[in-house]
Amino acid sequence: MSAAQAASDETLIARIAQGDRLAMQVLYGRHHVRVFRFGLRLVRNEQVAEDLISEVFLDVWRQAGKFEGRSAVSTWLLAITRFKALSALRRRKDAELDDETANAIEDQSDDPEVTVQKKDTSNALRECLTRLSAEHREIVDLVYYHEKSVEEVAEIVGIPENTVKTRLFYARKKLAGLLKAAGIERGWP
């Protein structure tokens, strides 16, 4: 995101704090798809992910006056999305696990060896990316797709910067393990 756009987002938030609906529409148009995709990767349910969007932006409408601009607006939005997504997961009937366990668990619904039949590394990589735990998925997405720095990821996830680095490292290691199980060797680790 350009510096100009970041500044413009802050201006929009200031206008939203004064009840400007038009500014809200602009901010929504600019960020709702990324909020949706980040939420969807966490909750894995389109309906729930769509509900998250309205909840996140309603929070923005209510809290805009408290935004101090210490982080980028997109970082703030993703932090709210993450919080809402985890709350939604907690509410789900099938999530009767404590947070730590739920975040760490991987999707074992299908055997990667069965699903990933093609030896196409790109397809296999995408498939294995969906099988990471929520904790690992979010950090991979934040760094690669949402282009967040170490500091920003630390702020969104609420963990120290060194933990951000090691968590991504172990997420990548897990990814490599899933790929290996699917018969794909990449030379690392």
């Binding site: 798809v33 969007i53 309205s54 932006f57 309603l58 690669y144 797709y145 090691t166 990548r172 990814l175």
Partner: protein
């Protein structure tokens, strides 16, 4: 090389290695990016890992982009929720001038004009009554405004206006017609309008003891943001 990689995985990444994903995403600061570039140029194993990371980077973007976009439903839901939100009150943390500016910015032109006109009318009325009183009491060549004989009103208005008085702030989107209807319903008279948009209303025909009930009823009105007793 395999042995070296295995050792790294077991012990965790070193400083430079941990930064590779951010280097691939282009989100490192200039100093760290330079350090990583130097290390990549000198370490083939690191360069190999970097090429793996670049592949992960590309496929993560591809995966996220394949997720599509949401329907229009969340936007409709959001703006319906915003419409249902209570009218935003000025933040206590903001300065008085900012709050006054915001209030006036929120007032419709007709409301502002009406407020000023009513205020002007009150002044004119009072001036006229005072002039009439002075003319009627022609025997007195001079009387100070502060001098009043007991039970002898200076003006008709001031003497008979015994109803409780309440300070009311209307919602910024309140229209003049709404305010007029409310005044009719409550048989209220505008005594004054402050620059901050605070209306001082008088409720003739009601006893001072009714002020509490009156304020409760006013506060439940949709177009009333604030109702407090006038001192």
């Amino acid at each position: 090389m395999m042995a070296a990689n295995k050792k790294i995985v077991e012990t965790g990444p070193d400083d430079i290695e941990a930064l590779l994903p951010w280097h691939a995403a282009g989100t490192l600061n200039a100093r760290d990016a330079h350090r990583v570039e130097q290390a990549l140029a000198q370490d083939p194993a690191l360069a190999k890992q970097y090429s793996v990371i670049r592949q992960e980077y590309v496929e993560t973007i591809s995966l996220n982009e394949s997720l599509g976009a949401p329907s229009a439903r969340p936007m409709q839901k959001l703006f319906a929720a915003i419409d249902a939100e209570p009218v935003r009150s000025a933040s206590m943390s903001r300065g008085l001038s900012a709050r006054i500016s915001q209030f006036f910015a929120g007032l419709s032109p007709r409301m502002l004009a009406a407020g000023s006109a009513v205020g002007g009318l009150v002044v004119l009325l009072q001036a006229g009554v005072i002039a009439a009183m002075l003319a009627k009491d022609g025997g007195h060549s001079f009387q100070t405004a502060s001098h009043r004989t007991e039970n002898t009103p200076l003006t008709r208005g001031l003497a008979t206006d015994t109803g409780p008085q309440v300070l009311v702030r209307f919602a910024p989107d309140a229209r003049m017609s709404d305010i007029s209807a409310l005044l009719d319903t409550y048989q209220a008279t505008i005594v004054s309008v402050s620059r901050a948009g605070l209306f001082q209303l008088r409720f003739d025909g009601r006893a001072p003891k009714d002020a509490g009930d009156l304020i409760s009823r006013l506060q439940s009105e949709k177009i009333v943001n604030l109702a407090v007793p006038a001192q």
